[in-house]
Amino acid sequence: MYDFDFDVIWRSLGYLFRDGMTFTLMLTTCAMVGGIILGTLLAMMRLSSYRFFSAPAGLYVNMTRAIPLLLVIFWCYFLLPYICGYVFHELYKISPKPIGDLLIRIFGYQVQDGTPLRIGAFTSSVITFILFQAAYYCEIMRAGIQSVSQGQMGASYALGLNYWQTMFHIILPQAFRNMLPVLLTQTIILFQDTSLVYVLSITDFLGAASKVAQRDGRLVEMYVFVALIYFVICLFLSYLVRCLQSRIAIIR
């Protein structure tokens, strides 16, 4: 029978949570905030009556939802350096001095050669998850905006507010409140999905556990422990969402 050694978990606890879990939580938070903002903008575009706005947003959302997250992670990891290098190089051609100085100061990047820009693993994965999750948040926010009655929009216009004022002061606050439980559920899914950055050998919670597991040859203990921690956190979070849902349901 397999002989367990749970001491390995105890020994690596600091590494797992200080390095791994911090990364996972930071990535989740950044991706949630960025994803909800971008997703809301996409939802507003999708609901626009101008095809110039609604068609690209629809195409983006449907395409992103059709391909697996892992493929998006690879796309961003391998191509962002090229794309950023290209964009910065073009900007540099327009106004050499300020752009060049800025890039050297921020990234330590010599834009003159037009070489691919070195983007850190964290930045790359944050951008990936914002781009990917925005498509899912967009669908949620679209449903949220559509759940607000048409009269609200009409009343607001009648009071003399313009489109942006109507959106920010009248429609979006209600849409957010209606969709809050769904947005949070999606965030729990995002929290689970961030474990996929493992494929880039990043030290997130799973990555840290996997490194310890392979170093000490203790795959069984480490993976069972990781599963347990994820299970407890997600169960607790979904319990909180359910509590919130019942509260919001009473207010309505």
Binding site: P68, L71, F74, F78, P116, S210, Y223, S238
Partner: protein, 252 residues
């Protein structure tokens, strides 16, 4: 952009001995479909059983299925994949674990991948089946029982045929999900579509071409699934429900 475009790369020989790079990708597509479809069928059967259990009068059975659903929904797919691949073989009795480790590729990673995706998806299918049964009016079940059918017959002849017709749209998106999720199997060494594109990129350095091809294939799969399922949905739509065409109501 500092990038050497080379779209004819797909017709060049790949170093993995499978012919051209295009063959590499198509081979990957084949394993994606095999994994996803076998997992989808298993998940459908298993998910139906668990979903029905959730609605049975017996409290024990209902609790067991609730625990099952929570367990598989609250652990990230990648962690589950590792549990099936690394942890399960250590605990299988009668040397089965050793046999599992000795399986030749691709079977060595295909079997855990299919098991993992089946159980992961079955929890989600179970939730949908449960929601479908709950959405039916109580009268359906009572009428079935009043006609002298026993509980099993009521489910078999009255409730389930109706439920499957109602939840077909959500099952469609679940089928799409399982196809996308099968890409996670690349972490345990299954060369499916995403992994094939990644391998092609590693051999040829044509990042953009490889991932564009994989993305297009995923989008085509998505379109095919949507078209087939929409046709099926029209055929089986329950007359009189929202979303059913008016003519259907009149002709029935």
């Amino acid at each position: 952009m500092n990038y050497n475009w080379h779209w004819l790369i797909f017709w060049e020989a790949s170093p993995d001995g499978q012919g051209t790079y295009l063959d590499t990708l198509l081979n990957g597509l084949q394993w994606t479909l095999v994994t996803a479809l076998s997992a989808a069928i298993a998940a459908f059967v298993l998910g139906s059983i668990i979903g029905v259990m959730r609605t049975l009068p017996s409290r024990t059975l209902s609790r067991i299925s609730m625990a099952y659903i929570e367990l598989f929904r609250n652990v990230p797919l990648l962690v589950q994949m590792f549990l099936w691949y690394f942890v399960l073989p250590e605990f299988l009795p009668w040397g089965l674990g050793e046999d599992m480790k000795r399986l030749l590729p691709p079977w060595g990673s295909l079997v855990p991948a299919v098991l993992c995706l089946s159980f992961f998806t079955s929890a989600r299918v179970a939730e949908q089946v449960r929601a479908g049964i709950d959405s039916l009016s109580k009268g359906q079940k009572l009428a079935g029982l009043a006609l002298g059918l026993n509980l099993r017959q009521t489910y078999q002849y009255v409730l389930l045929p109706l439920v499957y017709r109602i939840i077909l749209p959500t099952l469609t998106s679940e089928l799409m999900n399982v196809i996308k999720n099968s890409s996670v199997a690349l972490t345990i060494g299954l060369i499916e579509l995403t992994a094939a594109a990644h391998a092609m990129q590693e051999f040829s350095f044509q990042v953009f071409e490889a991932f564009t091809a994989a993305t297009l294939i995923y989008i085509i799969i998505n379109i095919v699934v949507v078209i087939v399922m929409r046709f099926l949905e029209k055929r089986v739509a329950v007359p009189g429900f929202i979303g059913t065409k008016r003519e259907a109501v009149i002709t029935s």
